[in-house]
Each structure stands twice: as C-alpha cells, then as structure tokens.
Symmetry: C2
Subunit: 346 residues, 2 copies
DNA sequence: GAAAGTCCCGTAAACGTTTACGACGTTACA
DNA sequence: TGTAACGTCGTAAACGTTTACGGGACTTTC
C-alpha cells in the first residue's frame, strides 16, 4: 500500500536500490534484484504513477483523443478499437499505456486538448479525423508535444502522419466500375471539412476525367459517416429521377456500408443485383450478402505502423525506430466480391 | 512552462498564496485572487497533474475500462459514447475527467485492472459487461476503490450498480408478441457468461410460463452482441424447419438489431412483414425500415445516473449526492413501431 | 603492498503541487 | 491601552519516486 519505502524496509535495502532493481538499472546484484522482484510481486507492489511521472517528467501514457456523445463523427466504433489493438502491441514493448481521452460534447475540443497537454496527462498524442485546417496540429507542434495524425491535413508542420490511400480507392473504384460498364458512379463525401473529403472527391474527379466521363456534382452524396448516413444516401438515390441515378457507388466507411446495404434493400435496389457497391472491408462488413467487393486493410497493422511512427519521433524511443518523420499513405488491395455486378445485369 | 513557481514570482507572491487563490481557498484577498487568476489565464498556466495528484492522493480522473481489438464484446460502440456524455456532464461540475482505459487484447483484463488501480491512475472506476461471477468486483471492493458497475452480477459485495430492466423487456416483449398472436417467440442470449444472459432468459421463461406457452430451448439464439451476431441469427432462423421457426423475436442490442434486419431481408423474412422484431431503441436503429417497435431509453440520462451514483460513494463528493448505495434497475418504455405485426399477416 | 579498478549499495536532492502552521498587521472590544 | 480576533500571506513539510553522486569492500594490476 504505502509504496517503495515499505518494500525496501522489508528487504533491509534502501529505496534507491529497490528502485534500481525494479527498473532494470545496472548497478545492482543479480541475486538482490531477484529478491526485490519476488518481494514486489508477492506484496503486489506497483509504483505510484504520480510520484514516478513527477520525477521523470514523463507519464508513460499516450493519449488518443476522441469525442463522446457524437454519433455524428462516427468515432468510437470498431474501426478504432482494432487500430488501438495494433498500437498497443507496440506500446507493450516499452511499458507504454494507451488511453482514450474523452472530450465531452460540452467542451471545446481545442480547449480540451490544451488542458490535457498542459496538465501533462500524456507524453504523446494520437489525433484522427484531421480537418483540412487543423488547429490541433499547430498547437501540438508549438508546444513540442510528440504526436501523430491519422489522416492528412493542409496544416502541415512537418509532423508525422499516416493515411489511407483514398486517391487509390477512388481511382481503382472508378476503374473497376467503368470496366463493368457503369457510366454514372456515385461517391460519398463527409459533411464536415475533414481533409479526406477533398482528397477523395478530387481523385474521383480526376479518375472520371481520364476516362472521358463527365463530372456531375449531383453524384456526390454528403452524409455523416455512420449507418444512418449510408441509409440516407440509398434513399436519396432512389428519390432521383431514373436517368439521373447512379448505377454504382464507392464509399470507404464500414458503418456507412451497413446502412447503405440496408437502405438499398429497402428501396428495391438490392446490392449486387440492381446496384453496384464498392467499399472498404471490415470485420463487420464481412458477413454482408452479397459479399462486398472491397478494399482490404489490416487495421491492426495500421495501428502498429501508427505506433512505430509515433515512437520514432519521441526522443526516449526513437533509437529503436530509426524511421525519421513518417508521412505515409497506406495502400489497399481491391478484393473481388459480388456487389459490383456489371451494369447490364441491372 | 515551469509551473506555479514562475507564476508566483511574476506576481511577487508566494507559491502558497497562488495555489490557494487558484483552488478557491478562503484565506486570500479577493483582489489578489483576481490578479492571480488573470495572470494564470494570460500565461496559460495549468497545474501539473503529477505534482497535484501526488500531493493530494487523488488524480481527479475516473476510468472506464474497455477492451480493444474485440469486436466480440460489442464494446466501443455508440452505446458507450452516449453514456459517457451523460457521465461527463455530471463530472464537469466537479472538475473530474473521464478517460477510457484501454485494455489490450493481449493482456489479461483482471491483471490490467489491478495494474491500473495500484498505479493510482484513477480515483474511481466504472465497469461494464459484468460477468455472472466477476473478479473485478471482489478486487475493487477489497482494495476499497470507489466504483460502480453497469450491469448486475452474482458477485455482490454491496456495491452500487445500475442495470437495464431486462426482466421488464422480456416480459413486456413476450406480452406484446403473444397479444399479436405469436406462439413461438425467439430470444437472444450472449455467448459469454455475462450476467445479463441469465437474467434475460429466466424472465423470458417465466413470461412464457405465465401464459401457458412452452419453453423451447431451440428458441434461444446465442451469438455475439454485434451486427454479425444479429445477421447470423436471422440465417439460423431461416435454416430451421418451417414448423420450428419462431415468428417473432426479442433482442436488446442496437448493433445486433441492424444486422438482424439485414439478415432478415436476405433470407426473405422481411421484418414487419413476415417476421416480428422487438428491440431497444437507439440513434442508429432509428432509421430502420420498417420503424422498429422498441424499448426507449435515454443513454445520456443513464450516464448521468451512473455518475451521480458513483459520486455518492466517493467520500469527497458524497455530500452533494446523498443517495446511499444506489442499486437500481432502469425501466424502459415500449414504443410502438411497425416491426411487430400480427402473426396472421405473415 | 599500494594504486587503480570494479561491484554494489546508501544518501539525498529533485520533480510541482497542496496545506498545516505560524507570523504579521489591522481592527474591535473591554 | 492591552488583548483578542480577524484577514492575509509566507514558510516549509509532505506526497512517492528516480537518479546523480559518493563510499565501502573487494579484486586486480604493476
């Protein structure tokens, strides 16, 4: 209960020696270290976080900021839980803990982040859902806090980031659907100003252009990246005049895909029969009928890459990860399914 | 940067006075306090977490433990994000922070919790997905850590808990479906030994018995509480011999409901037309077609109740919440939809 | 056999904050 | 005028840990 002092007393050792023994420092006899380790284990001693981080100036925790109460953002879903798991396998090697810092919907996200940082709650941060212009990036950089972004941004301070290959998905998706005879291809865009929207749409436009197909703004469907958003898009499509409707669709969000499938069934445009769908693979989307033609990505591997790239920028760990400042686009592989039938079938 | 010392120096005050001013202690002149507050604000001073919690013996954070990488548990979904938001509105009144403690799938949950507790990471904990016999409860009670469980358990140490009224849902659900002429009513049960499974099934059995209907174990469908689980149940139902199939179903998980709807469409048993469904309402389930007949519950209110009940057991805050040890079953109201049609329609 | 080196351990300062205690100046009251 | 009370503030100890430094005992080396 009382800590290292009691442990030292029980062993007839000084607290200094005990501390060194526990932390694997060199200046301690092997036999002594063994004794200390056993005793610590026996009485369930775990070093106090406050004392340790006060002295070391580091907490040993990395924070991932996410907002609560916001079905809108699509955060808090399985996507992140899988990424986290990859992050943690790397962190475990260095006794680092990952916690989710939950920003209430009643608090300003920027203010929350400042508070968290200034308090010294975490040694480093992972941010996601990066906006086109993101104040968080400026702030973290100015404060010299190690961090990595899951998602590109126009706000570029030479910080590390990882992002999915949205250009590739747009290009490959369009290519595939065009090859199957589709001429009117719909695409999803987020409602807010996340950077992904711009990148995705721009690549989509370019892919059409290269194939001599017209770019029709009406084929861009804006919605929240969750089940409801996908569902609503399906109904919006059905509400269009027949000639204006797309015959195929590209999206990237797993939750949306579920809602989209649901919606397509409802409006009488069953996927793979009367409407072509291409999206991203995921454990949750895996059971869909018909089988989704999808971009495959290991979220766990993504988490691992994310963690390693972050550690590469932290002085205390950089030696193990000589990667420099990682700024990488993660490619995805298109896997055949039954949801992207030729247009003639419809 | 350097903390309270620099702030005090700049104001020609002692650090003691500055600290008292910032913390709203009485022994400080109003004008002085104002000066301190302004200066602190101006230079963006935020007290260091480690120093503060070392001295106070409290961190000001409450942890919610959840497991990463586990699509199985169904955690990490919108359900919790909404509950969190309610918790935080209460916590905000007391400068308490809520963080999600993420237990890796590679670490034993019990061990993780012990580590977190011993380290003094959080002042209190919220646990969920309580097992029928739950070691976490014993441990937390023995360590005298304030905590509250979202979900009942056989392991009862007189601790506070909140739980949804699963008995009520089973009873009301059966009553409703029977009234509509259904005789074979299916029900969901979790695969693991969460306590909810036992409670739910038992109430279901009793509800049937009271109405002179047979209890058929084949009508209990075990699955993971997520989209896939719901989807698989629909297919399992379709695979039964016609006479054995249920004509209606009761479930309580929002993710499952989405998958269940999807699956029912796939197997040609569209909900509300050929198959009756009753489940729990949720933002995500709200768009379903046909409209779900569902049990309504404000997750935000649930979070608020959870937070208040927790604070009632924490010495430092109990004065504001004279609730005693809260052990409460939260009732849900059945709201009419179009998914529970009479059996004759089918 | 003395000097140098090695191994192991104890001592004590430091991290940033809170808070019990005491000191000082002023006011109030007898 | 003396004493008590009050308001305001400074002083210093304490929280639990890590780590730079130094010292004692022993071994090696010339």
């Amino acid at each position: 209960m009382t800590g290292i002092r009691e442990l030292a007393q029980r062993l007839n050792l000084s607290i200094g020696t005990v501390s060194r023994a526990l932390n694997g420092k060199p200046d301690v006899n092997d036999e002594t270290r063994q004794r200390v380790l056993e005793a610590a284990n026996a009485m369930g001693y775990v070093p106090n976080q406050a004392g340790r981080s006060l002295r070391k100036g580091a907490t040993g925790v990395v924070g991932f900021m996410m907002q609560t109460g916001a079905q809108i953002t699509g955060e808090g879903d399985v996507f992140f839980m899988s990424v986290f798991d990859g992050v943690q396998t790397v962190f475990a090697r260095h006794q680092l803990d990952l916690v989710a810092l939950l920003c209430s919907s009643e608090e300003d996200p920027d203010a929350y982040m400042q508070r968290v940082v200034a308090r010294g709650f975490a040694d480093a941060l992972i941010i996601s859902a990066t906006k086109r212009e993101d104040h968080r990036i400026d702030y973290l950089a100015s404060r010299n806090i190690p961090f990595i972004a899951l998602g590109r941004s126009q706000t570029d301070v030479g910080h590390p980031w990882l992002d999915l290959d949205f250009e590739g998905m747009a290009e490959t998706g369009v290519a595939r659907l065009v090859a199957k005879g589709h001429r009117r291809i719909g695409i999803f865009a987020p409602l807010d100003n996340t950077n992904l929207g711009f990148v995705f749409i721009e690549a989509y436009r370019k892919a059409l252009e290269q194939r001599g197909l017209p770019f029709d703004p009406d084929l861009i469907f804006r919605a929240h990246p969750n089940e409801r958003g996908g569902h609503d898009i399906a109904h919006a499509i059905a509400a269009m005049p027949p000639g204006k409707q797309p015959t195929g669709f590209i999206l990237t969000n797993e939750l949306m895909t579920l809602g989209f499938y649901n919606g397509l069934y409802e409006v009488g445009l069953p996927p793979g029969q009367k409407f072509a769908v291409i999206s991203r693979d995921s454990p949750q989307a895996h059971f869909l009928v018909p089988k989704l033609t999808s971009f495959r990505l290991s979220l766990r591997d993504l988490g691992i890459a994310l963690a390693e790239a972050l550690l590469a920028t932290m002085p205390a760990y950089a030696a193990h990860y000589p990667l420099g400042v990682v700024r990488k686009i993660v490619p995805l592989e298109l896997v055949d399914g039954d949801s992207d039938m030729p247009v003639s079938t419809g």
